[in-house]
Amino acid sequence: MSIHTLEVLVENEPGVLARVAGLFARRAYNIDTLVVGPTENSEISKMVIQVNLEGHSLEQVMAQLDKLITVISIKELIDGAVKSSKHDTQPDYQN
């Protein structure tokens, strides 16, 4: 079990929660908790997401999140620097 906490600044616009939640669901990332709140800038909201990695790399989760146009910035709270993992990140499968 590997839980990391991400602070994600997003555009405050309709559908932004669905974009983030949908990304986690379709890439099989596991959200433990998610809190959304305002910031002092009314156009920007803050999400605090606890992700349980369960075999995914934090680097990949953050990179995929960053591809969402409505995601402005992502930083990891608590654990500090993100490291690349020196191994193939996907298990074998038959497709």
């Binding site: 997003v10 949908g22 990949q60 591809k67 146009i69 996907q90 074998d92 499968y93």
Partner: protein, 587 residues
């Protein structure tokens, strides 16, 4: 995409007119679509626009046509549909474009904003539906937001890693009055693609390349997207290492080049697959380690270090760890790599001769090939090979998905980028005909052939009506083996020859030449190898009408080589139960 500030800036108009002025300002010259209730207000100003609107017969055709146009021109393709079923019919082309990184802008009408969420007539949450496979999407309910949404859509679709963007516009936003204001430079806080690679990454890559004794260039479709073929050719010449081009990269590097080993992957050449497996360095440019290339990932290129250059940071370390990641535009990356590599090679140059000799030996020993049917019937591979030879390397080829697609990638020689269009990531049967239509619109003076299967053709052939009526004279070769051929091949190999639901009976029904004639095309048929060249030449001589040829081919031909799904690339088979004779190879 050329954009300019339109002369109508600051004038009052409806949202619908604002949409059309926005598309004109974005440089759109053609779009493919079908009107309907919710988008109807937009079709009134479309009637007066300089933009050519091509009325298709199914929205899926509009989407793939826009993709074909985009793949040929490098510009964004545009499709337009109404709400509900019109919009959902675009879902497959949008997913297809996302998988193959195609710049696409889809415009859909939505029910009036007051009706959203009420299950109104022809209401579908197309923004929600397309979230997973659009690069971004919009729901516009305020007419003042239309120009900005359109400008952003084109900016996002065409920059960075290209992809599809959908703009859904409520009917009342199209009907209301607004003042047209075209935005200046688009700045998005959450979207800043990185074009210029880090110099340190370039230097690290150059060092690794110069040290390598067994390097291979693993070339993906990104090279074509970045218009980097010329730069790639220079880089390859400097190093003199072998090159493989993936299904999406066919044409990025000339097939005739002596360093080209062909396509890697599930149906790749023995030399290309083995080059990746035995390399000590993969110079990966715009490729993404798809399962169809890597085979069983834990056994893929196990002794290779990896340089991975891509404009999308999320591709780095997604499937395969990169020792040297290089994030940036590929043309900039390769341009920077050329002097850096020259400098490294002047200090230290590994001898690649033994590596090249073993790869050349593999290529000579295991060339692509096929056996002609014993019964004298038509060979599908021969048909495709002859079309390629007779039509020549200036031709644009599209394909459907399946055996004919693999043969078209194997037995046609591609010398230039943007001459091979197919559905690589999504594997969309039915892509071939509408993509050829869009390609021909984008390159009207070029011969465009769709190499299609009898199964694929029956999914989207209605667009031949569009082609016939709009002077889009494409040529379609139906490789008719009266089967879902690739599925049948898997049933032969993995399901004891139990052909569950793969027999299409399409040598009996439909009558393809008659169907073609009914759609305003010339219909031809060929089932005798003796008539093959003459039939192709007949099709080549007709340039004022679409032509469809029903090539009635042997049904038991199979695609080889093959790396069976889930197995290692090391287990590549050159024919059924026949592996290469590895003992005779020094690798």
């Amino acid at each position: 995409m050329t954009t300019h500030v339109p002369t109508v800036n600051g004038t009052a108009m409806t949202g619908a007119t604002s949409l059309v002025k926005s598309l004109e300002a974005a440089g759109v010259d053609v779009m493919f679509g079908i009107p309907g209730g919710a988008i109807l207000p937009a079709y009134d100003p479309i009637f007066d626009s300089t933009i050519r609107h091509i009325l298709v017969r199914h929205e899926q055709g509009a989407g793939h046509a826009a993709t074909g146009y985009a793949q040929v021109t490098g510009r964004a393709g545009v499709c337009i549909a109404t709400s509900g079923p019109g919009a959902t019919n675009l879902v497959t082309p949008l997913m297809d474009a996302a998988m193959d990184s195609v710049p696409l802008v889809a415009i859909t009408g939505q029910v009036p904003s007051a009706a959203i969420g009420t299950d109104a007539f022809q209401e579908a949450d197309i923004r929600g539906i397309t979230m997973p496979f659009t690069k971004h999407n919009y729901l516009v309910t305020d007419p003042n937001d239309i120009p900005r949404a359109i400008a952003e859509a084109f900016h996002i679709a065409t920059s960075g890693r290209p992809g599809p963007v959908l703009v859904d516009i409520a009917k009342d936003a199209l009907q209301k009055q607004t003042t047209f204001t075209w935005p200046g430079k688009i700045e998005l806080a959450g979207y800043q693609p990185k074009f210029t690679p880090d110099n340190s990454a370039i230097l690290d890559a150059a060092k690794l390349i110069a040290q390598s004794k067994k390097p291979v260039f693993y070339i993906g479709g990104g090279v074509i997207k970045a218009n980097a073929s010329k730069e790639l050719a220079q880089l390859v010449e400097i190093l003199g290492a072998p090159v493989v081009t993936t299904l999406m990269a066919r044409g990025a590097f000339p097939d005739s080049h002596p360093l080209h080993l062909g396509m890697p992957g599930m149906h790749g050449t023995v030399a290309a697959v083995t080059a990746l497996q035995k390399a000590d360095l993969l110079i990966t440019l715009g490729a993404r380690f798809d399962d169809r290339v890597t085979g069983k990932l834990s056994t893929f290129a196990v002794n290779a270090k990896v340089i991975h250059a891509d404009i999308d940071p999320a591709e780095i370390n997604k499937n395969k760890f990169a020792d040297v990641p290089v994030v940036g535009d590929l043309r900039e990356t390769i341009t920077a790599l050329i002097p850096a590599l020259k400098a490294e090679l002047s200090k230290n140059r590994a001898d690649l001769t033994p590596w090249l000799a073993s790869m050349n030996n593999l290529r000579a020993t295991y060339p692509l090939g096929y056996a002609l049917p014993d019964d004298g019937s038509l060979s599908p591979q021969l048909v495709i090979e002859r079309i390629g030879k007779i039509s020549g390397t200036d031709t644009i080829f599209t394909s459907g998905v399946g055996q004919h697609q693999m043969w078209a990638s194997q037995f046609i020689s591609y010398e230039k980028p943007r001459t091979w269009l197919n559905s690589g990531g999504a594997g969309t049967m039915g892509y071939g005909v509408p993509a050829a239509m869009g390609a021909k619109v984008g390159a009207p003076d070029t011969t465009v052939w769709a190499i299609d299967g009898d199964g694929c053709f029956q999914m989207t052939n209605q667009e031949l009506v569009t082609c016939a009526l709009n002077n889009i004279p494409i040529k379609v070769a139906i490789i008719n083996n009266e089967s879902l051929g690739m599925v049948r091949q898997w049933q032969t190999l993995f399901y004891d020859g139990r052909y569950s639901n793969t027999n299409l009976d399409s040598k009996r029904v439909p009558n393809f030449p008659l169907l073609a004639e009914a759609m305003g095309c010339v219909g031809l048929a060929c089932d005798n190898p003796g008539d093959l060249d003459a039939t192709i030449e007949k099709a080549m001589s007709i340039n004022d009408q679409p032509v469809v040829i029903d090539f009635r081919v042997h049904r038991d031909a199979m695609v080889w080589p093959m790396v069976a799904a889930g197995t290692s690339n090391d287990e590549i088979m050159i024919a059924r139960a026949t592996a290469p004779d590895w003992d005779s190879q020094e690798l």
